[in-house]
């Protein structure tokens, strides 16, 4: 039964893909600009769902997610740009690109493992500080390595991430994380979130599962980082700063802690909102000649949104609920 439902899910994804692809082909509604936002949203979906695995499902508090994304981005970017010097004109190069992505993700996952092993014994807020510090350390290190461009950033990355590539990888990532969440391991994660002491008493090796969630989350963050830098064709240290992590955190909390569906909706909704605010602010700027309305107001709106969500709708948009289509059959 589960197989049948998954086929249905994949069918929906395929229909979505066909619609977007053909609309873009003939530039109806979805022009290249909108397609680019959709691509960005899909990358954010991977980042949000993977952070949700750590923060939402396992109840740990990591705020260094962009650090992992930076590792994935720079490792894969260096491989494709500096070492292999490949470009998308030859379709065979996509194989190398996928290998680069996987190596970047493994590197990121490995660093997540190394970081998680000693730190996950710590209480929630200490973990937050360590992950924050980790993100800053990664950024500082990148800033000081001249080989990867230092503060200039890594330039001239080939544009391997097109809509097809990003879409397929996003669907696969969501499915993998979904399957983990609805497996025995997933129940262990959730038991740690609900009550760590109680889950330890029933025999869950909490440290092991926390490290496990952390490593997987870091792996997918690295994957998303690799996709992102091959989409924007640049990897820059400022993209992966603390602010980027906050952006993902807002998506996780707006969508709902512990809801994959919520993360997907929030990643799409907030990426589009962010672009929409750009136009809104420009419009306000034009009608108020004495008062310049800068793009900074966008982040003011965002942070206010985060506070309001936390104060008035703690559980986010979806709470812990999922779309029916995402739930495997046996769970219902």
């Amino acid at each position: 039964m589960r197989l049948k439902k998954d086929i249905k899910l994949l069918l929906y994804c395929f229909i979505f893909y066909i619609i977007v692809f053909s609309l873009n082909r003939y530039q109806i509604i979805i022009n290249d600009y909108i397609l680019n936002i959709i691509n960005l949203s899909l990358v954010y979906v991977i980042l949000t769902v993977s952070l949700n695995l750590i923060n939402g499902f396992t109840g740990q508090f990591s705020i260094g997610h962009m650090g992992f994304a930076a590792v994935g981005a720079y490792v894969s970017g260096v491989l494709t740009t500096i070492i292999w010097k490949i470009n998308p004109s030859n379709p065979l190069n996509y194989i190398l690109f996928f290998i680069a992505l996987i190596i970047g993700s493994i590197a990121s996952g490995f660093i997540g493992f190394l970081l998680g092993l000693p730190t996950l014994r710590l209480r929630g807020d200490y973990l937050a500080i360590v992950t924050l510090g980790f993100g800053e350390i990664i950024r500082t290190i990148i800033n000081n390595i001249d080989y990867v461009g230092g503060p200039r950033g890594l330039l001239g990355i080939p544009k391997f991430s097109n809509f097809t590539v990003i879409f397929i990888i996003t669907v696969i990532s969501i499915l993998i994380i979904r399957n983990i969440v609805f497996s025995t391991h997933g129940r262990a994660f959730k038991s740690i979130r609900e009550d760590q002491v109680a889950s330890e008493l029933v025999g869950v090796n909490t440290t092991k599962y926390k490290v496990y969630a952390f490593t997987i989350g870091a792996f997918f963050a690295g994957l998303a980082g690799g996709l992102l830098c091959h989409l924007l064709q640049i990897a820059h240290p400022t993209q992966y700063n603390f602010l980027g992590t906050i952006f993902i955190l807002i998506m996780v909390y707006a969508g709902g802690m512990g809801s994959i569906s919520g993360s997907i909706i929030a990643a799409f909704g907030l990426t589009f909102l962010s672009e929409g605010l750009r136009f809104l602010l420009r419009w306000i700027d034009n009608i108020t000649p004495t008062f310049t309305v800068g793009i900074e107001w966008r982040m003011v709106v965002y942070s206010a949104l985060l506070i309001v969500i936390m104060l008035y709708r703690n559980e986010g948009l979806m709470g812990k609920r999922e779309f029916k289509i995402l739930i495997p059959e046996e769970e219902e």
Partner: protein, 302 residues
């Protein structure tokens, strides 16, 4: 070796450590009482710096010299007001919710303040030069190879003075006794008739005020202010508080001086090391002595 271990760096480190100490004390007090890492604390520090900047600029425009004490009081009150507002609006409704919610709200408040300041047209995201020469004339004293400016002396004296005041407040007054009671056991303190909300407000006033004073001192000695100036000092001060044992006031002072001195020495050796040493210290402390240098071991409550 001469290059690294010289007296000049030690003095600079003490100066930096004094400023970290003022911020770290606010962090550690708020953590001790509300159990919240107040990420917005670094922004109260920034608000203090901007408040003093505007009052000095205002004085210059009108052509009269604002007394030093008045500027000092204004920067302290700006920090306090910001802290109390943040508490009343954002933290109070979440007081009895899961701690992670309050932590994320604190992140949101911190971002909100920073971006609001960089979006407001009369502040803006760019650097501003702090008018320190109009505020206090700089004097430099030379001792052989070592130079000490009067700013260093002011920084150290003011922060030591404030620390003595704080220690007196916490140790020898009724309010301080109530604060210690709340930090030990909230429920028992409530049963003893202590108004917890009042104590929390006072804590935010004191913590925010110390941060505001640190903002003024930073503006004077490192005369460059911008809306994100609070982020890194805030983080480093927090790490200093963790190093000393969070919730522990002497610990925060000790940790801050260790932090400031090690940072200046590391920076004089290698700038990359200087940027990263704070986080390296943090990870080492959390691995080997998570309760901090002066903290007591607390068994995790079930």
């Amino acid at each position: 070796m001469e290059k690294i271990f010289n007296l000049q760096q030690l003095i600079n480190g003490i100066q930096l450590g004094s400023i970290y100490a003022l911020i770290a004390l606010g962090y550690t007090m708020v953590y001790g009482i509300v159990r919240l890492i107040n990420f917005a604390h670094g922004d109260f520090f920034m608000i203090g710096a901007y408040a003093s900047y505007f009052i000095i600029i205002f004085g210059n425009l009108r052509g009269y010299h604002i007394p030093v004490v008045l500027v000092f009081i204004i920067s302290i009150s700006a920090g306090s007001v910001a802290a109390v507002l943040a508490d009343k609006i954002a933290y109070k409704p979440l007081r009895y919710k899961p701690r992670i919610s309050a932590l994320i709200t604190a992140l949101g408040v911190s971002m909100f303040i920073e971006y609001l300041f960089s979006a407001l047209p009369f502040i803006g995201p760019s650097y501003k030069a702090f008018p320190n020469e109009q505020f206090i004339k700089s004097k430099i004293f030379e001792f052989g190879n070592t130079t000490i400016s009067n700013y260093i002396i002011i920084d150290v004296l003011v922060s030591v003075g404030l620390m003595i005041f704080l220690t007196y407040l916490v140790k020898y007054t009724r309010i301080g006794m109530a604060m210690r009671a709340v930090s030990q056991d909230k429920d028992a303190a409530k049963l003893m008739g202590i108004d917890i909300e009042k104590i929390i407000t006072i804590t935010f006033i004191v913590g925010g005020g110390l941060a505001g004073a640190a903002g003024l001192l930073t503006g004077v000695s490192y005369p460059r202010i911008f809306p994100y100036m609070g982020v890194l000092p805030g983080l480093k001060a927090f790490i200093a508080a963790v190093l000393g044992g969070i919730g522990n006031i002497p610990g925060a002072m000790l940790g801050s001086y260790i932090m400031g001195i090690s940072e200046t020495f590391a920076t004089s050796y290698n700038s990359l090391l200087g940027e990263g040493i704070a986080f390296a210290i943090l990870i080492l402390v959390l691995l080997f002595r998570p309760q901090g240098l002066l903290g007591e071991t607390i068994a995790e409550k079930v």
